[in-house]
């Protein structure tokens, strides 16, 4: 197993180096398929092998010493890279963050007190396996999609310099970093991988090298570095107060002793770091800015995997947050973000922006679950991670494909997509339904979360969910409604086979995940919860889950039947009602000047209510307030 994990982490990095050298498009495509298959295969193998044993595994990589040193060196390399890039872009101030944290961590490592408790550096449990599978399958799917997408992208955006070699290279590097992140138990290692993902994200956001992209990429960088600083500080505290940098040990201690002896401080700091990574308010800005990046990177980094690193970490430390101030900070930040982001999403008409807000919002929900830190919420959080990763990745890809075909990712331009691009529309509709409709996975998870919050009990979270669900419903529904409706048939679909392959693979994955929800619950999530909490109950009773599964089938079967019925009914076409001024084709009416005027039907965006101009700042300040107040309490309480 140790070796396998090593390969899992190293192989992508090697592949990244190779990809950086390939400039031929065809070769790159073939290599991507090949490497992708290898990575996915490795991920699945790891998962299967681990499952055969089915127990928590702590281990060290072979030659841990070398790894330790390598990471130490690489940390400095990373720091230098950041300094170089930020100085080059005249944003040198950012490098201060990098210098401070790197020096802090490495300084402690090199010159700090000897660690009292040294444990294994690696750990594998159910959660790691879930993450590995997500990265390995969803992530690789996105990689395959990227081959076709980037080709189309450069056809459309001729102004952007073709740096695909760089793009794919970073992508593979990112896989490796992610695998490392989710298997590390040593905080210093985790910190290192964490920084690598930040830099990957930063590089990919700046892919187009436009001014906007550069600005946004640096925004992402400094926010993520702030998170990195959080981890660095957490490490520092752990070093000095606990004498260990073993994540699990820290969590265990903290969950046992609560806020005594400042044990909660590292937990709170880790939580803080996770908030930045998961783009919770006030750190949501970077994720929104990241939408300038080509869609595969949005799908991979900014929805399916990297941002999940934040919530992953939170779920890891959740048990230590149950019922204390650190937990309050996290769940308030999460709940607040869940609500605010879903409200803000209403005012967006850019498809990717909506997805971004929705991602932030859903991450907020997971964060909230983790912050509460009970069995049920962790159950819910695990499912939210799974469903969100699959669905969102699929939707990002779909919006990207739509953009490549229609030249726009504006929701208004998706009018009648069901007629124009039936295949893409199907994916999109499945995704939207998956995001909020009963009885799809996200909703079940949300339901579980709701129930868990009621039991917690946490009135404020219940209210956040109750109101946030309502707003969530609004923005999804209006998007959904847009896709149906009339449109011109037979528009040219330039989506490539590999893109469809990935999207349909996701769709199938989603359906499998939904229908096998009970199995996943019993085989994966419940054991995990049991491992952490000592016992497990699924948040939703089994009978309900089964009803849901039946409903899922119903939701496909019933419309199929009714579709047949509806088709067979005799009818006569009639003009749509336009007050008697219809010119006959349902698209034009007689206007005030007596001429035909084209009808326009647009969605609502409620700018005066929920516009970014109105709510973004308050949301930021709200987030800042929550974090400052509770961090203050945690730290103040310890002193």
């Amino acid at each position: 197993m140790e070796n396998l994990i090593t390969v899992l982490i190293c192989a992508p990095i090697v592949m990244a180096l190779i990809m950086a050298l390939v400039s031929n498009d065809k070769v790159r495509g073939i290599l991507t398929y090949l490497f992708g298959t290898v990575i996915a295969g490795l991920a699945v193998t790891v998962a299967v092998l681990w499952f055969k044993k089915g127990e928590v595994l702590t281990f060290d990589l072979p030659q841990t010493e070398i790894w330790d040193h390598a990471i130490l060196v690489l940390e400095y390399v990373l720091m230098l890279v950041i300094i170089y890039l930020s100085v080059k872009a005249k944003k040198g101030i950012i490098s201060v963050l990098a210098i401070v944290q790197t020096c802090l961590v490495t300084g402690l490592e090199l010159f700090g007190p000897k660690l009292v408790i040294v444990r294994d550096h690696m750990k594998m449990d159910w959660l790691s396996v879930i993450m590995i599978l997500i990265i390995g399958i969803v992530g690789v799917g996105i990689g395959i999609y990227a081959v076709g997408y980037m080709r189309g992208y450069h056809v459309h955006h001729s102004e952007v310099k073709d740096r695909r070699a760089f793009f794919f290279s970073i992508m593979f590097l990112f896989y490796g970093a992610m695998f490392g992140l989710v298997t590390s138990a040593n905080l210093i290692w985790l910190y290192f991988f964490w920084e690598v993902t930040s830099v990957c994200s930063f590089l990919l956001i700046g892919y187009t090298q436009t001014e906007e992209a550069t600005n946004n990429s640096f925004k992402a960088l400094w926010m993520n570095l702030l998170g990195g600083l959080g981890i660095a500080l957490a490490i520092a505290f752990a070093f000095t107060f606990i004498g260990s940098v073993d994540l699990y040990f820290i969590v265990k201690i903290a969950s046992q002793y609560g806020n005594q002896y400042g044990l909660l401080i590292p937990i709170a700091l880790l939580g803080f770091a996770a908030l930045t990574k998961s783009a919770q308010f006030p750190f949501s800005g970077w994720l929104l800015g990241a939408m300038v990046a080509p869609t595969p990177s949005s799908a991979l980094l900014h929805s399916a995997t990297m941002v999940k690193a934040g919530v992953y970490l939170l779920v890891r430390i959740a048990i230590a947050m149950n019922g204390n101030t650190a937990g309050q900070m996290i769940y308030l930040a999460g709940g607040f973000t869940f609500f605010m982001a879903s409200v803000l999403a209403i005012s967006q008409s850019d498809g990717k922006k909506v997805l971004a807000y929705s991602t932030i919002s859903n991450l907020g929900l997971i964060v909230g679950c983790a912050g509460i830190g009970t069995k049920e919420t962790i159950w819910a959080a695990a499912f939210l991670i799974i469903f969100h990763a699959i669905t969102k990745s699929m939707m990002f890809q779909c919006v990207g494909a739509i953009e490549n075909s229609t030249g726009s990712r504006d929701i208004e331009d998706m009018q009648g997509l069901a007629l124009r691009y039936p295949k893409l529309a199907f994916i999109l509709m499945l995704g939207i339904a998956g995001m909020f409709l009963a009885p799809f996975g996200m909703l079940i998870s949300k339901w579980a979360a709701l129930k868990a919050f009621v039991d917690a009990p946490s009135t404020i979270m219940v209210l956040f969910i109750a109101f946030g669900s309502a707003t969530t419903m609004f923005y999804w529904t209006k998007w959904f409604a847009k896709i149906l409706g009339i449109g011109e048939k037979n528009e040219k679909d330039v989506t490539e086979g590999n893109e469809y392959f990935s999207m349909f693979a996701h769709a199938i994955m989603l359906l499998i995940a939904v229908t096998s929800l009970p199995i996943i619950s019993i085989k994966v999530v419940e054991p995990y919860v049991k491992d952490v909490f000592g016992s497990a109950v699924p948040a939703i009773s089994e009978s309900n889950i089964w009803t849901m599964v039946i409903l899922v089938s119903a939701i496909f079967v019933i419309p199929l039947i009714t579709y047949g019925v509806a088709r067979s009914v005799k009818h006569k076409d009639v003009m749509a009602y336009m007050g008697g001024a219809n010119t006959g084709d349902n698209k034009n009416f007689v206007d005030a000047m007596g001429e035909a005027k084209e009808l326009k039907v647009s969605n609502w965006y409620l700018d005066d209510w929920f516009g970014e101009a109105k709510l973004f700042k308050p949301a930021m300040w709200g987030g800042i307030a929550i974090i400052l107040i509770f961090l203050g309490i945690v730290i103040g309480g310890a002193l």
Binding site: R567, K570, D573, V574, M575, G580
Partner: protein, 170 residues
């Protein structure tokens, strides 16, 4: 099979009436006359209507509108011309912008004279119209599309056919 006589929903369109007949039609729905006693609902939407009440004569602009609304009403349907203007053009028939009564554009089933037509007359007219449904629905399968009945002058038929939407049943 015929159930419309118990629930005739009506649509009122003001052609170029002077409002006199108009407000009398509205008055029919108000407490003193209350046509809802007979199940009449003033729908305001051609797609839901069974009876088409037109007040006022036909002029250049509203001819198209009247035809369109007529075509948007599902079968079976009847048309009532309310008021002298709608019957014949009335006092305005010599005006340059009045083509004449409603029957110059769509087939009219019942004429309700009066200037203004009294609510009582309108009620009588509606009652007569409802009786017509019995015959109308007997005319075979009304799910079938039928063109505007050709009991008018050829010229009318042409213009009406011109605004018919294309495409028959599916």
């Amino acid at each position: 099979m015929n159930s419309i006589h118990k629930s005739p929903w009506l649509l009122h369109y003001d052609g170029s009436s002077c409002n006199g007949c108009d407000i009398e039609v509205l008055a029919c729905t108000t407490p003193v006359y209350d046509v809802e006693r007979f199940g009449v609902v003033n729908t305001g939407n051609p797609m839901h209507a069974d009876i088409f009440l037109v007040t006022g004569g036909i002029n250049t602009q509203n001819a198209e509108v009247v035809k369109q609304i007529y075509n948007q009403m599902p079968n079976p349907k009847v048309v009532l011309a309310i008021g002298t203007c709608a019957c014949t053009g009335g006092v305005f028939k010599e005006c340059y912008n009045i083509q004449g009564g409603v029957d110059t554009v769509i087939p009219v089933d019942i004429y309700v004279p009066g200037c203004a037509a009294r609510p009582e007359s309108i009620i009588d007219g509606v009652v007569k119209a409802v009786a017509l449904f019995k015959e109308k629905s007997k005319d075979g399968d009304f799910v079938e599309v039928d063109e505007v009945p050709g009991d008018e002058e050829a010229e009318t038929e042409e213009t009406v056919a011109a605004v018919e939407t294309e495409g028959g049943e599916e």
